[in-house]
């Protein structure tokens, strides 16, 4: 399956390579570089690139290309999903996944990769198992290791892999047993310029942090499970129980994990909690344009809107912008023509606005379309879908 893995940074250097079968020359990446050049933008590099003897499947995350080399037919999603799992594992191990961090921990990275694949077929991808095999580096452990000469590699080989609960390590002990569940909902909407919603959908996840002793078996039920009609689960959740009773029953992995993610489709009407008023106009006669946007809350059920960030890709003809925000900070990058305004909290009494003029390239014709505005925001303690938090969590464990 997966022959080799190359890690390539944004400047096109291969800074790590790992082979699971016979060594594949790194010159194979030249095909990738060609494709990268053609694509102009990093995110437009095709995920699957055929070369005469190999196929290159890549994912792009954290400004690093993870390029897998394969030789024979394999479901492309298999490889892509695995590469994402690799990135997630690195993030889990080192907190961040970046070139310097990977370079610093190259031995751990190598050991982890060695365990994740055998002959190109995934072997251990559960972070619980991996962490038992190879302990993640912490400052304390590094200090201890240098003094005592002990190592990152677990001397006890994990037993979890042998059990039917491969996601949970055994022998977990806590003095304080606790479990936290975090419901995060993302709303994704397209709104036309008159303010009406074209499509909106909600993507939600329930992340959990479970620190419980032994082999706990949890059940979780919802007030209104009917909302969750399209769900995907962590492998620990028992499908049948959910099918028949709409109850989540599972033996959780130890630590942080994503219990489930759900999708509330566009059919259900979604009330968007924010609105944007805009007044952007370019005039043909002068090379100046007017620009004004205001952000305001709408149907927030009394919750504050935080972390508002407005970004907008300006047309190519725009030379510069002189704007003044009523709150927050804004930047305009004259090269990429990207305007970004970090608003912060919205105060309903004094709505934040950004006003000013746009200077266009002299002689250039008026851009024929107003730019798209992207708006990001956060609201704490509010589930847009109306999903009530879990009704109760019953815990049975010895």
């Amino acid at each position: 399956m997966i022959h080799s893995l190359f890690l390539i940074n944004s400047s096109g250097d291969i800074f790590l390579e790992k082979h699971w079968k016979s060594v594949v020359s790194r010159s194979v990446c030249d095909y990738f570089f060609e494709a990268q050049e053609r694509a102009t933008e990093a995110e437009n590099v095709p995920p699957v690139i055929p070369t005469p003897h190999h196929y290159l499947l890549s994912v792009y995350r954290h400004k690093i290309f993870f390029v897998a080399v394969i030789q024979t037919e394999v479901p492309p999603l298999f490889v892509i999903e695995f590469l994402h799992r690799v990135v997630d594992t690195f993030q889990d191990y080192f907190g961040v996944c970046s070139e310097p961090v990977i370079k610093d921990n190259v031995v751990v990275v190598y050991e982890v990769l060695e365990e994740m694949l055998d002959n190109g077929f995934p072997l251990a991808t559960e972070s619980n198992i991996l962490k038992e095999l190879i302990k993640p580096p912490t400052i304390l452990r590094t200090v201890v290791n240098t003094i005592t000469g002990s190592t990152n590699v677990g001397d006890q080989l994990p037993t979890g892999q042998l059990s039917v609960v491969p996601w949970r390590r055994t022998g977990v002990k806590y003095t304080n047993n606790e479990a936290y569940f975090d419901v995060v909902e993302e709303i994704d909407a397209i709104i036309d310029k008159s303010g009406s919603t074209i499509t909106a959908e909600i993507q939600g996840v329930i992340d959990a942090c479970v620190k419980l002793t032994g082999m706990p078996d949890l059940t979780l039920s919802f007030m209104n499970p009917r909302l969750l009609d399209d769900v995907s689960f962590h492998p620990c959740v028992r499908f049948k129980r959910w099918e028949s009773e709409r109850i989540l029953s599972f033996i959780p992995p130890d630590g942080n994990f994503r219990l489930l993610s759900y999708h509330v489709s566009a059919q259900n009407l979604v009330a968007i909690p924010v609105y944007v008023k805009h007044n952007i106009s370019f005039r043909d006669s002068t090379s100046l344009g007017r620009f004004e946007i205001t952000v305001g809350p709408k149907q927030t059920m009394g919750k504050t809107i935080e972390g508002v960030i407005v970004t907008s890709q300006m047309p190519k003809g725009v030379l510069n912008m002189s704007l003044s925000p009523s709150q927050g900070t804004h930047t305009f990058d004259p090269v990429t023509k990207m305007l970004s305004w970090d608003v912060g909290k919205i105060n309903p009494q004094k709505l934040p606005s950004l006003k000013g003029t746009v200077s266009l390239q002299a002689g250039a014709s008026r851009p024929d379309e107003n730019p798209t505005i992207n708006l990001q925001f956060k609201i704490q303690q509010l589930a847009i879908s109306g999903l009530n938090p879990p009704l109760f969590a019953k815990e049975d464990w010895p």
């Binding site: 010159s27 492309p76 077929f121 042998l162 078996d217 492998p235």
Partner: protein, 998 residues
């Protein structure tokens, strides 16, 4: 290979040095070679010293640095001798890093690598399973051909290892050995065959992977393991699931007949639904051979469904393609929701999923129509995602949604991503051709775009308009005139060429403009693009033929220009046209037809989806993504006309008993049971496996005894029936019950659960009846993953144990529902399992040896008075019918269950000629009807008995109860408990059985 591996030594002098290094190692005088490493010399010398030191920490540091070098792609091969010495290090981390090094360089330094082999061979015998496994892993990863026999031996041994983890590694090693030495194929297939029989979820994925790599054509190896794989699927780790599903898809396409018929919508269960309707029934009868799905086919489809909710996109995609390729078309719809959910994933996942949806949406529009809005383009999408979404939107467009879509497209056209805007215009063109209602709207919209300020947009519009006009050329003179004007401003060659072609084609409709355009073009001919030049020539030729008076000279001028053009294509075309249109002596008969040749009616181009031809690739494969056959792609065969013998998948009981005993009982009997167990159980079970193996012979002897005795001793009364074999038929029943309960819907199962709980609390007085209830409710709320093979296993245990077992089976699918199925310790709801008649027949087949009879069928100690309504008096026009199970051996046949039917006449008239007609029974079921009753007096009642062979299932027996004037459709569904026969056996025998079956 090795030359390959040297190619990238980009470090200074690396390539050269390695070669020398290799030379040096072959003469075993490495020190000589090191002299050449002027730059690396010091560092490597230093590393060598560290490796040779006594301190582990120094060694570790050295190894870490070496691994760092490997990771960066630097050559570290000259350190091989120093590193390989440490292969037996006690320190685990050093050992691991040495392994990493070995696997990387052993291929290049084969002789030295051999030094390490003995260490691994020793480790292969280690008592710790993990050490055995890792030794096998490294040993098989060292690609040294000399050790092939050693590897072969190691794999064979590991494949028989007691630890499933070691067996898993053996499965991986098979692929490695195969790629090293394909000659070993035959031997490896033997190992694969053996491992395929393994029932551990750990092994399943890996061995199927090995199967796919080594012998994907040996589909015969799968037969016996098919049902097991289907049933294990939910619990296999996610990567294994993907591989298994892909393999089973191929398997299903060779073994089952196509479920795709015109009357696809009618499924088995739906058919029974229609049974009540007379006419419908006749129709079904008339159909020669109604399609019935092979239960194994159904099993696969059913068992993969929950995996649509996997978090792993690859698994979801694998299930989706399985449904697409092998399920009835009416059922494939459920995959669309899951696929749409994947669109919220990473860009790469989106890319692949959208490609697959694009292919699907061409063939079956309806599947994705409800999700139209999910394919709307977002400004943040990368261009490749945008174009794929556009593709899907085009495929989904129809009369109903086109207006919404066009509005959406209007926004896209204005996008700043010009490549995307151009793609949108193409899309509009395709919509216009596909949906005739909007052709005019689209055309006018595109004409508006001609005045757009962006040249790319205009050019693309021109090209699309050209295609559209070609399809309905008659009435669009105005547009052509407008486009002719554009020639002055537009510079994109394709667009100019398109306009010229269009004018040429329609030169008779715009007689004034065409010559003028030609004049302008003649002026600028030399500076035009080649593409445009060719079209100028064409235009000239066409005008020459239609309007030679005005354009003769112009055309000749252009032809002259073309004659001396730099491009040979143009020179060629010029010569060709001149010969054809300019009459001279030499020109033959062809020039007479010049006009016909140039101005022939040209067929309009078909605007087709680029995904049209991808459907011959299996979805979700690399080949599909690339639209080209990738190496190792396995073609999905067409459905066979006639299904191959389905009995090859049957797993015989005897086989089974022999097979599963040596491999450890707990795990094999019921793989999911391990869910509860810690890993030690693994060891335990394998310990005890040896003695249970020795017993298996005598065991099977007893089994047939039991069969014999239970057959004849029906009258033998005994206190408590104790046989777990009831439990088997039970499971079978359950399986069937599920099929039935499907029609009932989910609500049913919930009720069943409640009932279940109720019955537990009920007191012992009605223990019997409640247990019946319970078992039936069980069967409904039951999970779907019991295996057929399991149901065949003959096990006998005490009641309580039986109960527990049933619980275990219940948890089989939902893994661990202990809170619901706590083993009942009080003897409240003891079920009375018994051998059902057909099971006895099964057991008869097991005659192997003789020993004393130990089991006898006992009469029921309690017969409930409970009756079930067969026909209510309201719906039976006064005729009421009730049925009950008397729990007596049926006189009509030993496979039948006796049913008593009580008929009541509640009318004030005589009911005449009551009889049964139109039996509509599932395959295999039989029914012995009662003799017609001539008449039933008002207020009279009569009890008749009949026998039904339910085939040990809770399938419904439907038939018609008829009187002289009317017919009523009725059905009988037996509770599971009524299918069982109580038997008695001695405690000793029971224990023996218990031991045997764990």
């Amino acid at each position: 290979m090795s030359s390959n591996s040297f190619a990238y030594n980009e470090q200074s002098g690396g390539g050269e040095a390695t070669e020398l290094g290799q030379e040096a190692t072959s003469t075993i005088s490495p020190s000589g070679a090191f002299g050449l490493f002027s730059s690396d010399l010091k560092k490597n010398e230093d590393l060598k010293q560290m490796l040779e030191s006594n301190k582990d920490s120094a060694k570790l540091d050295a190894m870490k640095r070496i691994v760092g070098m490997i990771a960066k792609g630097k050559n570290a091969s000259e350190l091989f001798p120093a590193v390989v010495k440490n292969v037996a290090s006690k320190n685990i981390e050093i050992k691991k890093l040495v392994y990493v090094y070995l696997v990387r360089y052993a291929e290049e330094q084969q002789d030295l690598a051999l030094l390490s082999i003995s260490t691994f061979q020793r480790a292969l015998k280690d008592p710790n399973q993990l050490i055995r496994a890792s030794a096998l892993r490294v040993l098989s990863s060292i690609r040294v051909p000399i050790i092939v026999p050693i590897m072969m031996l190691a794999i064979k041994e590991a494949a028989a290892d007691l630890s499933p983890y070691v067996r898993k590694n053996a499965a991986h090693a098979i692929q490695k050995l195969y790629s090293l030495d394909p000659e070993q194929k035959e031997m490896l297939i033997e190992v694969i065959e053996k491992l395929l029989k393994d029932k551990s979820i750990l092994v399943a994925g890996s061995v199927v992977m090995a199967f796919e790599e080594v012998c994907p054509d040996r589909i015969d190896l799968i037969h016996k393991n098919y049902r097991k794989l289907c049933n294990l699927l939910v619990d296999v780790e996610e990567w294994g699931q993907v591989v298994i599903i892909h393999m089973l898809t191929r398997y299903a396409r060779t073994q089952f007949v196509s479920p795709w018929r015109e009357d696809d919508g009618l499924e088995d269960n739906e058919k029974s639904f229609y049974d009540s309707d007379d006419e419908q029934k006749e129709k079904t009868d008339k159909r020669k051979k109604p399609y019935t799905m092979d239960p194994d086919h159904r099993l696969l489809i059913r068992n993969t469904k929950p995996l649509l909710q996997s978090r792993n996109a690859a698994v979801v995609m694998a299930v989706a393609q399985l449904y697409w390729h092998i399920s009835p078309k009416s059922e494939a719809g459920i995959i669309s929701k899951s696929l749409v959910r994947l669109l919220r994933s990473n860009r790469e996942v989106q890319y692949i999923v959208l490609q697959n949806i694009a292919t699907m949406s061409i063939q079956r529009k309806g599947m994705f129509e409800p999700y139209l809005k999910s394919f709307y383009v977002r400004s943040t999408d990368p261009t490749m995602i945008k174009t794929l979404k556009l593709e899907i939107l085009t495929n989904l467009a129809n009369e109903a949604n086109i207006s919404t879509l066009l509005r959406e497209f209007q926004t896209y056209v204005k996008s700043q991503d010009k490549q995307f805007a151009a793609a949108t215009i193409q899309t509009i063109g395709r919509c216009a051709t596909n949906i005739s209602e909007v052709t005019d709207t689209c055309l006018s919209g595109l004409v508006c775009l001609l005045s757009n300020r962006d040249e790319i947009v205009v050019a693309e519009s021109v090209v699309v308009i050209k295609k559209l006009l070609q399809m309905q050329p008659a009435q669009h003179g105005e547009i052509i005139k407008h486009m002719a004007k554009l020639l002055d401003s537009i510079t994109v060659p394709v667009a100019r060429a398109s306009i010229l072609w269009l004018i040429g084609e329609n030169c008779e409709r715009v007689p004034k403009i065409a010559p003028d355009v030609l004049r302008k073009m003649a002026k600028s001919f030399t500076s035009e693009d080649d593409l445009v030049k060719l079209q100028i020539l064409n235009l000239g030729a066409k005008l020459y033929l239609t309007n030679s008076k005005q354009t003769k000279l112009l055309t000749q001028y252009i032809l002259n220009l073309g004659k001396y053009d730099q491009n040979y294509d143009i020179r060629d075309r010029t010569r060709f046209i001149r010969q054809l249109i300019v009459p001279n002596e030499k020109s033959g008969a062809l020039s007479k037809y010049a006009k016909k040749i140039f101005l022939a009616q040209k067929p309009a181009p078909l605007l087709e989806s680029p995904f049209k031809d991808r459907d011959h690739f299996q979805l979700g494969t690399l080949s599909h993504t690339l639209n080209a056959k990738a190496a190792g792609y396995l073609e999905l065969s067409n459905w066979p006309e006639v299904a191959p013998d389905p009995s090859v998948r049957n797993v015989e009981v005897i086989d089974l008993a022999k097979e599963w005993t040596p491999a450890g009982k707990a795990k094999n009997e019921n793989p999911t049971k391990k869910f509860y167990s810690e890993s030690e159980e693994e060891e335990d079970s394998s310990d005890s496996s040896s003695d249970s193996g020795s017993e298996s012979g005598s065991e099977s002897g007893e089994e047939d005894e039991e069969g014999d005795s239970s057959e004849d001793s029906s009258e033998d009364s005994s206190s408590e029936p104790e046989s777990e074999s009831g439990h088997q038929s039970d499971t079978e029943n359950r399986r069937a019950a599920k099929r039935n309960s499907k029609t009932k819907g989910k609500g049913d199962s919930k009720d069943g659960k409640k009932e279940n709980e109720k019955s537990k609390t009920s007191d012992s007085s009605n223990a019997e009846s409640s247990s019946v209830e319970e078992s039936s409710s069980d069967s409904e709320s039951e999970s779907e993953s019991e295996s057929e093979s399991e149901s065949r296993k003959v096990t006998k245990e005490k009641e309580k144990k039986a109960k527990q077992d049933r619980n275990r089976l219940a948890t089989d699918a939902s893994l661990l529902d202990l809170d619901d199925f706590n083993p009942v310790s009080t003897p409240v709801a003891l079920p009375t399992p018994a051998l059902s008649p057909s099971l006895i027949a099964d057991l008869e087949g097991l005659n192997l040896s003789t020993s004393s009879s130990v089991i006898s069928v006992s009469t029921p100690v309690f017969v409930p008075m409970k009756t079930h309504v067969l026909l209510h008096r309201m719906s039976g026009k006064g005729l009421a019918a009730h049925y009950s199970f008397p729990r007596q051996p049926c006189i009509f046949g030993d496979k039948m269950v006796s049913v008593q039917i009580t008929l009541n006449n509640t009318t004030d008239k005589k009911i005449e000629n009551i009889h049964i007609r139109e039996k509509k029974l599932p395959i295999g079921m039989q029914m012995h009807v009662f003799n017609p009753i001539e008449s039933l007096e008002p207020e009279g009642s009569i009890t008749v008995s009949m026998g039904i062979d339910f085939c040990d299932s809770t399938q419904t027996a439907s038939f018609q109860l008829c009187t002289k004037d009317d017919c009523f459709s009725v059905n009988i569904q037996p509770p599971v408990g009524e299918l069982l026969l109580p038997v008695a056996m001695s405690e000793k025998d029971f224990k023996k059985e218990q031991e045997f079956h764990g």
